[in-house]
Symmetry: C2
DNA sequence: ATAATAGTGTCTTTCAGACAGTATAGT
DNA sequence: ACTATACTGTCTGAAAGACACTATTAT
């Protein structure tokens, strides 16, 4: 085949390609792992309250040394970013075979003090009965924190060309000994022709990087997806009562639901078993399983 | 301050940090730009049909030389990934001030033949009357393609532990002279304990990289977001008739809607003006504008 | 007059929310 | 008997879907 000198073949091009010619950002993955766990019970006949929990790791190295952060790390050259998220989670927490979905990729220039680091975040859900956080192999501290969020301010500035919406949210993360806080601001600007949505961390205490932002984004995704998909079952053990399932919804949505309506809506997603949960000083509850077979969808 | 030798301060750590110690992937952005345009009319009293269009660029370089691809490019060290998406779009298409939202980050190891490249994809929407694709500055060919998608197969394999769902979709992209096709498979596996969702390109003709996958993902996002947000107005000019708005919905959702119901649902989002669209051989239609002020939300 | 689009009124069905009421264990 | 939870039936109102009907222009 004849070709002139500046017309090279694709193979020649690829053989001569040097990725190191250009300066590149580093890429990490960070995973927001949620679980719902029981609080201790005081009264023998009362059901245990449920709490939404998130998994954090105490940083042993700079930057943010001795502060807490999401499990994650750098993406290697021979693994996809999904695989990187799985690997880091397994390495750092000994947790695997769990629900994992990509959330968002955070690309601000200064979000990491070390160097330019872009981070793809993931959402993971795990049933608390499957937990097996062995004494972590390389002396890293891994711990579940309860998470609560509160909208502390909502502002609307209206101009003739549109409006600016601002929402400030405070996050509180607690374990037995520590309380971490983070304040996040979401700004939607519709006063120009292009609609822009910004998310910023205003302050963080005890939590490294922009992880407060990522955690809140994960919480929003969980709240919205639980309403129109069946991801909640990833937080449930094999068998559960409908009240337990309802409590998981309530603690995530942060609101009480009416049992009759909840049962009507979830009836298609569950299968009754012959087992019951009893010995609790009140009417025993039937145990159900997630009805995989009858629910096809791509959500 | 006294500290032993392996206890360095955060500042010392950062000063000594060398990002180049580790091999890193490259990072690009790719943008799926949609617009809705009128087809030519044959009958003076018929309204023009609308078509969903997508913006592609003809590659002048290897790999995939002379094939079409999404506008995009490498992220620079001093810009956020959002800024990179804006910049590339502006450079390659002379289009700016448009709606832009992040879609998904594609991280398979072999998705780019040059080297390891991870790509964050974006969705952009532009009103076709604002278009200004000047003769592109560096002789790049930029062109709008009409886009249609068809689900060509849906398989359900049921096992005792769950099911595997498979959906095959074919994409057809057409301009005046060329037809590009791409076939995409989405697989959801619920037979193991962890639910996994895969997306793969089976074949592409005329379209480079895994861009068929990204385009279909963008189309899905557009279809779903148009139902519960007001992003459709980013595709509309300042003033429009309700039938025009309805046609935009119909061409995106690929289904006919009933006018009475459509008007009821959209009534809160539009403001009537005193103007009408006439001279069309039938009853003139009132012109409306997007009612920004009365709609606050963070979607 | 006609063809084509513009626009409205209303019946039906579906679904979410509210709430009252019944059922059943352990102590 | 009492307490706490388990579970069901049904009313109501809001929203989505279907469809018939009227209105208005250029040719």
């Amino acid at each position: 085949m004849i070709h002139n000198d500046n017309e090279i073949s694709e193979q020649e091009f690829l053989d001569n390609y040097d990725a190191n010619k250009y300066e590149r950002p580093s890429l990490t993955v960070d995973t927001v792992v949620f679980s719902v766990m029981d609080k201790d019970i005081d009264n023998y006949r009362k059901l245990p309250e449920k709490e939404l929990k998130i998994l954090l790791i105490k940083r042993g190295e700079h930057p943010f040394k001795n502060m807490w952060a999401l499990p994650g790390g750098f993406v290697k050259m021979d693994e996809s970013i999904d695989e990187a998220a799985y690997r880091e989670l397994k390495e750092e927490t000994n947790v695997d075979k769990i629900y994992l979905e990509q959330l968002y990729t955070w690309g601000k220039v200064d979000r990491d003090p070390r160097t330019r680091v872009i981070s793809s975040s993931y959402l993971a859900l795990i049933d608390s009965t499957k937990l097996d956080l062995k004494a972590s192999h390389d002396a890293m501290e891994v711990c579940w924190f309860s998470i609560t969020s509160n909208v502390i301010e909502e502002k609307k500035k209206i101009s003739k060309d549109g409006y600016i919406l601002e929402k400030r949210v405070s996050l509180e993360l607690k374990n037995d000994t520590e309380t971490l806080t983070s304040e996040v601001v979401i700004t939607k600007d519709v006063s120009n022709n292009d609609i822009s949505l910004r998310r910023d961390v205003i302050e963080s205490r005890g939590l490294g990087f922009d992880h407060g932002l990522i955690i809140y984004y994960g919480l929003e995704r969980l709240k919205s997806k639980i309403e129109y998909t069946d991801i909640a079952f990833n937080l449930m053990p094999l068998e559960f009562t409908l009240t337990e399932l309802q409590n998981v919804y309530e603690v995530i949505l942060n609101q009480k639901l009416l049992a009759a309506n909840f049962r009507r809506k979830t009836s298609g997603y569950v299968l009754e078993t012959d087992n019951v949960r009893k010995d609790a000083g009140h009417r025993p509850a039937k145990l159900f399983r997630y009805n995989k077979q009858d629910n096809y969808n791509f959500y």
